[in-house]
Each structure stands twice: as C-alpha cells, then as structure tokens.
Symmetry: C2
Subunit: 91 residues, 2 copies
C-alpha cells in the first residue's frame, strides 16, 4: 500500500532562525510593516510503501529521526494519508 507523508520540520523555539529573520525583514521593506515574525522550516512530501497505517507512521517517525530532522534543533510533525492514485512522476 502506498502512503504519502507530508512532513513539517520546524526549528525549536529559542533556536535562532536567520532565514526567517531575513524573510521578515524583506516583507517589512516591501510594505508589509505589520509582520512581527517569520519562522522558516522545511516541508517534505515522502511517498513510500507500508503494510498499514501503524507501520507507515513508524516508518515516517524513523525517517525523521535518522535523516529528515535534526532532533537537537528541530521538531518534526507529519500528516499521513493513503495514496490511492497510481504512481506518477510528480506529486
């Protein structure tokens, strides 16, 4: 069974985020003066095979711990759904 996980990787509170600060400064200088903060993160859409929801969830958790997120500085969360469509080149 094919699964599609949308993984959100965000910096933990308190970790400096120069990318977010730069984007916030850029938005303010473009006229969006009420922007108080931007936090930047990563989004990964992972397509993979697993037998059932529990196995898929465990696999995503392991992927996050081993590669997708740095557990010291980042937090990962994900949405998981069964992918009914036939495999395509692009999601």
């Amino acid at each position: 069974m094919r699964w599609l996980a949308e993984v959100h990787v965000t910096l933990k509170p308190g970790i400096a985020d120069p990318e977010g600060q730069t984007v916030a400064g850029g938005l303010r200088s473009l006229g969006f003066e009420t922007v108080s903060q931007v936090r930047a993160g990563k989004l990964m859409r992972v397509a993979f095979e697993a037998d059932d929801h529990a196995a898929a969830d465990a696999a995503v958790s392991a992927m996050c711990g081993r590669l997708l997120a740095n557990p010291v500085m980042e937090t990962a969360s994900w949405d998981l759904r069964a992918d009914q469509e036939p495999e395509k080149e692009d999601m």
Copy 2:
C-alpha cells in the same frame, strides 16, 4: 488583530527537485527502500496584523506573490488562523 499564516511553498509538478531526489536517495540507502519519491518544499510561519480574515488572506497572497514564492516554479498555499495568544518571542 494578530494572524498566523502557515505558508507551504512547493515546486510545481515537472520542475526538477534535486534536494528531494537527494533526500530520497539518502532514505533508501538508510534502509527505507520503499521510498519512491520525495519532493522538498519550504514552510514559513508568518505572524502579522490585519483587520479581518479577508484582509489577512489578501496580505498573505500578496506576500507569496512578491517574496515567499517564485510564481514561475513554485506554488504557495496557506492556512490562516487568528492568533489569540499574546506576542511571544518564538512560535
């Protein structure tokens, strides 16, 4: 009124995604052999002020068009919610 927008910026279908391909290769070599595809994107959490939901939505749309996403190669989507909590240093 303070709003919090979670903006997802993803590459359009058909645009090459070397970061996603590299992550997919890394996951496979770590033993997640059923990973068929990874698409990488960006996640931006933007805190800003706007009078109402319509104004906030228009502001996020303008931010995406002008800075957050490259409309030629990327697609932006967002969730918007009113932020009830007092302003904090980190989200």
